[in-house]
Symmetry: C2
Subunit: 722 residues, 2 copies
């Protein structure tokens, strides 16, 4: 029996009447604010099928979601986009608490950028409950708000030992969340992590899953991760909680991208066998292989000791870091025991030292591992240095080869998971990156609001070129997409504003300013003006801001006039100030400190200040803040080099009382900088091994760098008058 | 010549072609995103007229504004609503910098709730530039975002000595802004305050203009304020800067409302003559008459000494405060000199002490003033105590009458400005207050989302009655208008949520919860949940929250679970918790501290905690915060009585480390409260004479109230174990 339904009421009626073998077909079109509840019972032979009239032509938009419960129900062909779920889950394998789906299947469905506009609101895209369900050949891309993309929920017995099958799905782009909660997949939670989940995650393709440092957070027992591909994903497959899990036949392809990692191991009898790791650059918890120290008698939500771990027949090619006993500290004192690292091949063509050992590794037995010439073996025993060559295999991957390697390294038989053999065939794959300068060139002349008009009519990637003269704007310049604004000849065009803010970067926006002069002289006489701000609302797309070769001056009409003003629930991929002169500013240059709940959330990943001069700045040059003790993120990452700071940071309204303040920053290079007659530099370092390096710093008059700890390096501090 | 135009292009063409005497008629309808520029030259005899096809049927909506420049242009009949200006001014008497209107008139126009959604964005509704312009018979109501409603701008010579006429306008409801910038009218700024403005503000009606403590901020010389009525307005007509201004024949009708004031005087030769003051309750700078201390050699933006002030023939009926040398402190040390207070009548039927003197009043001569029997005269000389009777005059105002009063008190000849003789006749006047319980009653039964569905379909003022049972919601309950939710029988209905927040008060919303149980037991296992939140976005309408007879418990699934979570750029008229029990909360009850820029902005006006019990609260019971030194506001105002606090405030994430924190609160009564095994009480008092009274406080174990100053009173502090 096949029934075509065209709205939710018809669907509900059809489901009520449905008999095993029935096929309910959703009519092509836009189903807006549609909450679908499929509660039906098919049989193993005759499932009830819910599908689209044509696959990819039924769109769930607005406040929509899907609940599947009952048995032997199969849903396919739906696309969720242009909206978000009104509940906490987009696709849920339950009707409500205690009423689950079993033996049901979700196949060939798409969720595309279906996000709550509130970045911090937590939603799952797929929540698996019940048992024996399958999710396959789905495409999930563009998860941008808080919450796991795909979760197996183990809330009660009816959801454990579940035998779920998750295969041939394409997990696409997930931007850096800048916070915990950006996992692409999670199996269980710490609460139930000693129960068996028993899921099989096989032959899925993960691409640019950069949400946080756990691509997959395994928090239960007895799961298998097999033949999946992780392509340029920041983070690791993490065996965070639970025992007896296996990662086998997976490909981790970093291609040299920052923070790409492999497998991180905690707990008992977890195995990493026959995996391939290529060009992974992650360090600390994001190494290619990370075996952690545990805690004796660990609470369930902390770190169990690694016992009985097996790490064998893996191949590592140009991976920078293998970390043993990682996380060793006064709490994590239990090193791995009864574990084996054997039959692995480690190849690196440019780094001689790839192993880091943080504690006692006598509990790990090493045997028959191979290293190429030039790389330092971890131990004498168990490692053989041999000459290897990289040879491309039939799938195009480089494998180290040598006659001397015996029974070691991975040998992969199944086809590798790719873009092509996962997900759906009928839905376009879009590059989600914000890109500058790929649009058209727009030349404009000076005049009241001529720049405003050009910005309003611009399209993504456009370049607005300003002829010589003054550009006064009586309206806020609203930046809704990547846009470059450039002076035709360097510093001949000046931009002014009569509003309390000149540029506002909206959700989806990115701004590049090149060679312009910016003045605050026409800004209104009120406290709290700014030149550039983010949206005041949550932005669930990360933005970029690049300011190069610009002169910025006279931000002084009233107090607290900031150059960059950001708001809570916004996140910058990158903020770059290069070759700029900032002169006379009553407020801050950039105070990136709006996440003060100290939940590990922060406001910018990469921050670059390079070759800039700052003179008479009342507030901070930079306040870069990440509070709390969360360990799931990578940034903030700061490069602050070749800058000169004069007479800055000393306004009484500058509450933190310093010119440069770094709080919880994870990586910073501060080199060749001059601080003259300015408020001090202050550090509040976190405990998660930040890398903070100062070199060639001149501070006059002499004053110390204020810090809560001495875990930073400082080379060549001088106090010359200049 | 009369030309009908139907869009902006046609209008522009018509204006280009316009000749003196032409009449350009805007077609009836909705002009969306219309920026009108009227740059034309009429003559005194033949002005160019821009008007509506029918008055009140031409609506400027969306991002719209109006600029008038040129000469002898008259604009009438337009209505601005449902939008806001894209620039900083809605109606501007200039084209751009330096290009002004002269001899132009705006008449019978309306601006109705035409506000930027961003509460803090600063916009003027009417900005007068140039000279000899008139604004009359307009209706301005519902200004809700930052910025003066009506301003005379004196930016250059062409705008001074301007002879502007502002008459017969109706200035309607302006809600409490909770910040500086809420003036209804401003004439000049401190910069040019020693220049002559020369405007005449006559026969206007001001109603509920409650934006801040200056209803009118006069900041220039030579202005007249004549025969205006101020009806139930919080604040005063303030002669803030500038000399030689006169307030004459005005009516200040407080009708017993909080913070209603009269005239506040600073600077030289300012006069208050023949005014009538009725039932004004304001204190401090909001007295019926406030004559301030100045600063010797004051900077232009501070306080000039009062010299040559004349305060005569005024009548005060039941006004609580007349303040002399107000603001006297270590900076304001210059008392009024060469001034007269004469021929005034002061009547009060219930308060014996209406005068407060803060410094030397020998520079004021007092003569022929009358006081009724029972009120204490300020001095022996210059005041006569007589028996008076209140008699209603023909306009319905009560005047004190006695045969013994000679040549004193006000005598008003012109008709009083009223709703009826000001503004326009063709536009409805709407009460803007949020009102509970004037809608229909909706009875509902327990069930998943039954409450959600009822809230969604509710209308303003509705009352939702819950039958006994559990109300689980998988979606956020979004409160978009005043709504009451009430258990049919007290505490038999429980409300639970599967979302990280249960109730969200949106812009325009107000919530009253009566007799329900609220539990966090179904809330998601994540940090930072809440039961009630404001919008995360700016709210430009003040909200109300009332929680009575409720039990709230088990907000503990994870850390930082708050009862009330507010966001920046929101403002509560009132937050009331009465007869409630709060048990086991991992976060805060209410942390009203989101305006940390310390610009004098705060988050709630009236806060009441009465007869409540708090047990095992991890965070603060209340954090009430107003930062900075701004003096333009009234609140926060706190009543905290008969509460019991047990084992609270001690969670390590409670950064401020106390159970009750008051920062910059302006008025507080804390009476009959018990703090047992809890974090301390902490005060950060501002310097603007806050009134903070503690009485009958028991704290066990013994610990002091921590305070930055001893400017609070404390009666009967005990340390009993109970
Ligand atoms: Ca995580
Ligand atoms: Ca003010």
């Amino acid at each position: 029996n096949q029934i075509l339904v065209s709205d939710v009421n018809e669907l509900n009626q059809a489901i009520k009447d449905a008999k095993p073998g029935d096929k309910i077909v959703l009519k092509n079109g836009n189903w807006k604010d549609a909450e679908l509840l499929i509660n039906a019972k098919g049989t193993p032979e005759d499932p009830i099928i819910i599908t689209a009239q044509e696959k990819g032509k039924v769109f769930l938009t607005g406040l929509s979601n899907l609940r599947i419960s009952g048995e032997y129900v199969e849903v396919s062909g739906l696309v969720f986009k242009d909206g978000y779920t009104p509940t906490s889950e987009v696709i849920s394998f339950r009707e409500k608490k205690g009423v689950y789906a079993n033996h049901c299947r979700l196949t060939e469905c798409v969720i595309d950028n279906f996000n709550n506009p509130e970045r911090e609101n937590t939603e799952l895209w797929v929540a698996l409950y019940g048992k024996n369900n399958r999710v396959d050949h789905c495409y999930f891309t563009g998860k941008r708000s808080n919450g796991v993309t795909f979760a197996i929920r183990m809330v009660d017995e009816a959801c454990r030992n579940n035998n779920h099958q998750i295969d041939h799905n394409y997990f696409g782009y997930r931007q850096n969340l800048g916070s915990n909660g950006g996992e692409t997949m999670r199996l269980g939670t710490s609460h139930y992590s000693l129960s068996t989940c028993g899921a099989n995650v096989e032959a899925n393709y993960f691409e640019y899953c950069d949400g946080e440092h756990e691509i997959i957070s395994n928090k239960s027992c007895g799961n298998t991760f097999k033949n999946n591909t992780f392509f340029k994903c920041r983070g690791t497959l993490t065996f965070r909680h639970g025992h007896d899990n296996t990662a086998e036949g997976n490909f981790f392809i970093g291609n040299g991208k920052d923070h790409t990692g492999g497998i991180r191991i905690i707990n008992e009898r977890n195995k990493a066998i026959n995996n391939y790791f290529y060009n992974l650059k992650g360090y600390r918890f994001r190494g290619a292989l990370v075996i952690m120290n545990g805690i004796y008698n660990s609470p369930i939500n902390r770190y169990n000791q690694v016992i009985g771990g097996v790490f064998s027949n893996n191949t590592f090619v140009n991976c920078d870091h293998v970390q043993l006993c990682a996380g060793s500290d006064s709490e994590r004192t239990a090193p791995p025991i009864d574990s084996k690292i054997e039959n692995n091949v480690f190849y690196h063509d440019s780094k001689d030292n790839i192993f880091t050992v943080y504690d006692d590794i006598s509990g790990i037995s090493f045997s028959n591992n191979y290293i190429n010439t030039g790389v330092k073996p971890l131990l004498k025993d168990g490692f053989t240095v041999v000459d290897m060559k990289l040879v491309e295999n039939e799938s195009g991957f480089l494998f180290p080869v040598s006659d001397q390697i015996k029974n070691a390294g991975c040998s992969l038989s199944s086809p590798v998971a790719t873009k092509e053999n996962t997900g759906v065939t009928w839905y376009p794959i879009v590059n989600e990156e914000l890109t500058f300068d790929n649009g058209k060139v727009i030349k404009i002349e000076p005049g009241l609001n001529s720049l405003f008009d050009a910005v309003e009519s611009s399209e993504p990637g456009d370049i607005i070129i300003l002829a010589k003269g003054e550009y006064v704007n009586s309206k806020v310049l609203s930046i809704k997409h990547p846009l470059t604004i450039k002076s035709e000849k360097e510093k001949e065009a000046s931009i002014l504003s009569e509003k309390n803010n000149m540029f506002q970067i909206e959700n989806g926006g990115a701004l590049k300013l090149i060679g312009v002069k910016i003045s605050g002289s026409e800004s209104p006489d009120m406290a709290g003006n700014s030149i550039i701000s983010t949206s005041k609302y949550s932005m669930n797309r990360n933005y970029k801001l690049i300011v190069e070769n610009c002169d910025i001056e006279d931000l002084t009409v009233n107090h607290s006039f900031d150059f960059l003003r950001i708001y809570k629930s916004t996140f910058a991929d990158s903020i770059v100030f290069r070759n700029c002169n900032f002169l006379n500013v009553s407020g801050n240059i950039a105070s990136l400190d709006k996440e003060t709940d100290d939940l590990g959330i922060y406001n910018a990943e990469y921050v670059v200040y390079e070759n800039c001069t700052f003179k008479n700045i009342g507030g901070v040059i930079l306040n870069l803040y990440r509070g709390g003790t969360d360990e799931s993120t990578f940034g903030p990452i700061l490069k602050f080099v070749n800058n000169k700071v004069f007479n800055s940071g000393k306004n009484k309204r500058n509450k933190i009382g310093c010119s440069l303040y770094l709080h919880g920053v994870q990586w910073a290079k501060i080199d060749s900088c001059n601080f003259i007659d300015s408020a001090p530099i202050k550090l509040n370092l976190s405990k998660d091994e930040p890398i903070i390096k100062f070199s060639n710093i001149n501070i006059y008059p002499k004053v110390s760098i204020i810090s809560n700890s001495n875990e930073f390096s400082l080379i060549n501090l001088t106090h010359k008058k200049q």
